[in-house]
Symmetry: C7
Subunit: 77 residues, 7 copies
């Protein structure tokens, strides 16, 4: 597939392993934590995670498995 | 697939079997209980489960099968 | 797939055949009745079913086929 | 698949052919009519169908093809 | 598949070719026009089509390709 | 598949290449422009495109790739 | 497939690599940045990205992986 860039979107996930990321989910939920693992469905596990509302910590959720189809974006934090 | 982490997101489910978990579902529903089983679709069975609203128990639902595509996140509690 | 539990989520449906179940559907609808059949898509047939709003019977619907992709959870009642 | 019941959910559709059914669709629409045909996607054709709001006839729609993925439930009426 | 009716839901589309149909789409949009073509995804082309709101013509849209997954129902008009 | 019409819905897209089209997207967004390309997923590229609200130009967006699963309808303008 | 245009929608993504793009996501979110990579699911990575509300920068998010199924449109900026 010659129209694909040599860099791939999932490279960002690989580079972010063990580093802090900010995840935006559908329904206006945000979670920030350390990326521990991911798979091809974009299922993600964060550790030491906090749930955020308007950028403020709403609650600490520790380790969390986020289902890939609820993800809007992932940003290295 | 060399870009995948050695740890996988579903490891968290395996490690959580017979332990308490907090499940957030789409539509602002939360369920807390003991994880009894799961499958590749993220269908989950909890035992001794409570449905929560704003962190308070809304009702006891005992054993419950949660459909995977309604899951937002799963957190060991 | 060694990470899967020996128990499977659909066991709950099998054990609930001919027994009362409470079904929560997307869009805040609940249906209670006797589980008569199910399939791999989580399509369910209930008999002697009632539709509930806030835990109160809204109407009797008798036999009903519920489409699997509208299911949020199934709980033995 | 030994965990499946011998009865199947679609049996209800087969038994309801040429008989009256009540269909609830996503988005709070209900349609009542005589089931003329169906397929594996739960696409349904009703004849002499009425669209209902709050149990009252909103309009007569005669013959209608309902797309399966909009179905919430089907009940023999 | 012995449980399927001999008539099939898509027969209605075939019989409606070159005839007027009323289409209800998700999000409370209705379109009325002459069915010119369809495919297995329920993608539909109407000619001389009008968009309706509350049964009144909102605007004339002439020829239009409707994407199948937005269809709620199709009714010969 | 003998029940399919000889004309196909995507013929409209082919005939509209290099011609003006009006696209309605889910979420009440409309885009008008010249159809430059499309694929089997109904992904579309428009050139000289304008985003419309209530039929008025909200902003000029020039060249734009519209994701197919957000399309409600496509109409030659 | 003779009905496909010779130009393809994803050509726009290829041509936009290393150039600024405006992305509209479902749920009224917009992100502007430099396109660094994409894949066949329309997953996109932007660098030096800003999240916009009503055309104003809401916050700087730097590098970000946008999940393809949340994309409404992509426009070279």
């Amino acid at each position: 597939m010659i129209f694909l860039a040599e860099r791939r979107p999932f490279d960002i996930l690989n580079q972010s392993l063990n580093n802090p990321v900010l995840i935006r989910l559908k329904g206006n939920v945000e979670v920030r934590g350390t990326l521990a693992s991911f798979d091809v469905h974009m299922n993600l596990v964060l550790e030491n995670a906090d749930e955020l509302v308007d950028g403020q910590i709403k609650r600490k959720i520790g380790t969390v498995l986020l289902r890939g189809d609820t993800v809007v974006y992932v940003s290295p934090a």
